[in-house]
Amino acid sequence: MPEWVYNGFSIFVVVYSTLVISSYIAFAILAFFEHRKHYTYHDDDYTIGELKKSPYTPGVSIVAPAYNEEKTVITNVKSLLSLDYPDFEVVIVNDGSKDKTLELLIENFDLVKVPYAYVEKIKTKPFKGLYKTKSDNPSFKRLTVVDKVNGGTKADASNAGVNVVSNKFFICTDVDCVLDKNALYRMIWPTMASTRRVIAVSATMRMSNGCIVEEGKMVETHPPHDMIPLFQDLEYTRSFLIGKTALSRINAMQNVSGGFGMFDREVVIKAGGYDGDSFAEDMDMVARMIRYMCDSGEEYRVVQIPETCCWTEGPPNFRVLNRQRMRWGRGLFQFFTVHRDMVWNRNYRQYGMLTLPYILIFELTAPVIEFMGYIMVISLLVQWAINWNTIWVAFLGLYIFAQLLTALIISYDVWVGTSFKKRTDYLWFVLASLLEPFYYHPINVFFSLRGYVKQILGTQMVWGNMTRKGVQSAPKQTAPGLAGSTDAASAAASVASVKSAVAETEKKADA
């Protein structure tokens, strides 16, 4: 390779990385102000107290698609039903599961099919029926189960849920997610406090892999002790506590996670709902909502709240991580193909002028540039023309910067008050941060590039199942309950045993 290529590339890399670092510093400072504001003014108890006694508190619906989730569905639905909020409903969409998801739901919550006047506000695969409980249990009355033909994507199932929700705001989550008891209060408050219309709210999500969950409720939070979920936990925390919080401060949020986010139902329907063909349906949805608001000249806000409201199970192995990252990579590529007209478009305000160019330059192209960097280094190594002094300075600088970012997110996490049970748990984050540049990051670059290549070649991709290992349950709960039971048969057996025990007690009481 001619020398000017190396020189040109090295100058480009220095400029590029300086810009990346500058953006991170800007984000860190913006996030600092946002955290300070939140820390000073937000008080969970106060908010809950005000909302609990007010007749003006808006209702919230929770939409959770379920596809072949028989292992965890009952525990998780119970967890959703036990949330604390004056007016909420839980809509579970059975997306044509091939296992016993629907049967277990019917059996455990006394469901019956009801004649519901279903209106397809957003087009989905055919609706098969709607189930409501006949039980007198007041919490079960909040549950609605929608049964539909499998659409192959989470987007299609979510759209079916949106079609039946009755509240102004709905939360879209996954059935395997564990929500914080006060999540709904935290999510609804920004919509009420803003002077502009809040179209979506995002909250911090963390990995549930190392946590202890009892009856679907979070008891103790710990970092995952498996490397891949640990890396992902670090990545999520960094993204939510620095990136998204900073972007939220200037109303330039790029995405509301598909795992847990609240949306304005009316805007979602007007924007056409989730796109079933998209691999990044959450990001695409937010883009279309913003497009709708900007095109109709309305003021809007997309908000990120720093508190952890949701825990989800991270990919347990490289196979699942590969699938996830490839999908994200494809999704990002596809997103810019579909919404290219929004980039550098002043009509779309901060989103068009700042967020999308930033993602395009620093997220979409980053894996390509990094990959080229690896090739350059290897090529220079082969020629033995490498300047070790320069490499050493650059690498050390970047490495220390990455470690400082980790220190920053740990300090933000402690500040926000959603820290782990033990402070020593943060050592896992430090370990992950030390290893990430050598182990996790290069692999992710490779997976993302695979996603790009597949998208360019137009290879068909199937949404694989997320392999669930199940989260840890508290020791005392393991015997009679369902939490943490990863085996469907044992879950069913424990349900049966609990039921028989209850029946026996009732018989004794009657006698």
Binding site: S22, T40, D45, L51, P58, K132, S194, G397, A407, W415
Partner: protein, 397 residues
């Protein structure tokens, strides 16, 4: 050998010179990068250290708060819940406070969470005089006054919030200076404080501010303040007066109408009806219709019927709901509801009409059954939906 003590700026210069000469052999981009990364790392380190210091302080505060709770909780609870009125000296003796008790700002701050928790837990059962005396003995009103007078806006806001949270006593005049301040958060907190504790006409500020932004958060908070005033037997505002006085702010007018409904002020119905006749704004009309319907004001029925066919879908839904709530047994009402059921193209309105007809007494049930027979087959799902007891058909959107 002489040693020179460098000034703090000289240290920086010295470091940058070292950086310059050390990196002189590198290309310019590397030198720029090195300087940049130094600055960025210093920035990051500053934030991290700041956060760590804050965390340590918070931990110390938590420890002190727990200590205070252990020491005073039971004693304060005993005084606050006692029927007998305690003298300040008695309280002071019980709490084992010195004669000239004085606290540092930080120590005061460490009492606040405990007192808020206690008020939240036992507020309704408390002997109000004793509670105020406890706060007085702990010098809370003076502390809050200092906080509100401080230069730090965040301190002022937090102080207002804490005063409301523990029902402390803060002079009205202290809050009044912030009623029209530029900082909206401070302004709102001062206004809420004035509304909660004000003795003259505390809601005047809302009516006099042309730039008022009445968010849903304020709706919730002001309603709770009004509830507090009602529970404590304090004077309540004239909501209908708000509507007449504030043509500038639509949100506040809607809030006033909703409050009339929630506080069931039937005496305002006649005036609300005349407002409805003159109203052109859809949201305001909907609020009026909802309020008149909820209070079952029969004379409004005629106006409802007059408005119905020229109304938007949102207003029609409110009208149908209100007519159903009044349920006067008027066959004319049923007649046009039936007609609209067959004609409307909006499915939510159709469902609502059907539900109102179904719930409209015996006459309604008869009309419902007739409609069931006469309606096209594709409408059968609506009838089944309404008849199903397991579905809450009021929540259909």
């Amino acid at each position: 050998m002489e040693y020179y003590v460098l000034s703090r700026y000289a240290y920086w210069k010295y470091y940058l010179l070292i950086l310059y000469y050390r990196l002189a052999e590198y290309p310019p981009v590397v030198r720029v990068w090195a300087v940049f990364s130094t600055i960025s790392m210093i920035l990051l380190i500053a934030i991290v250290i700041g956060n760590m210091v804050r965390s340590v302080r918070t931990a110390a505060d938590s420890y002190a708060i727990a200590h205070n709770r252990e020491k005073y909780w039971e004693k304060i609870k005993e005084v606050a819940l006692s029927v007998r009125v305690w003298e300040p000296l008695e309280i002071s003796a019980l709490l084992e406070l010195p004669k000239n008790f004085k606290m540092h700002e930080r120590s005061h701050r460490r009492y606040v969470p405990m007192l808020i928790d206690m008020y939240r837990q036992y507020g309704p059962q408390m002997n109000k005089i004793n509670w105020q005396r406890v706060l007085q003995v702990l010098k809370m009103p003076i502390y809050f006054e200092e906080q509100v007078r401080s230069r730090n806006t965040r301190k002022r806001i937090v102080a207002f919030k804490n005063v409301a949270d523990m029902d402390a006593n803060l002079k009205e005049a202290v809050a009044s200076r912030y009623l029209f301040t530029k900082d909206r958060k401070l302004q709102n907190n001062a206004r809420l404080h004035a509304a909660r504790f004000g003795t003259s006409y505390p809601f005047k500020v809302l009516l006099e501010d042309p730039n008022l932004v009445f968010t849903d958060e304020l709706v919730v908070k002001f309603h709770n303040v009004l509830m507090y005033r009602q529970e404590n037997g304090m004077s309540m505002p004239n909501f209908i007066h708000w509507c007449n006085r504030t043509p500038l702010n639509e949100e506040l007018r809607i809030f006033a109408i909703n409050e009339i409904r929630l506080f069931n002020r039937r005496e305002d119905c006649a005036e609300m009806l005349s407002m409805l006749i003159n109203s052109r704004d859809e949201r305001f009309s909907c609020a009026l219709i909802k309020a008149l319907g909820a209070m079952e004001y029969v004379p409004a029925e005629k106006e409802f019927i007059r408005r119905y066919l020229s109304a938007s879908y949102a207003e029609r839904q409110e009208l149908a709901e209100a007519l159903g709530a009044i349920n006067s047994g008027n066959p004319e009402v049923l007649h046009f509801l039936e007609e609209d059921f067959m004609q409307t193209t909006d499915y939510v309105t159709r469902m609502m009409l059907l539900r109102v007809i179904h719930d409209y007494g015996k006459l309604g049930l008869k009309a419902y059954n007739r409609l069931k027979k006469e309606s096209p087959r594709e409408f059968s799902i609506y009838f089944e939906h309404i008849e199903c007891d397991l579905i809450d058909s009021r929540k259909y959107a």
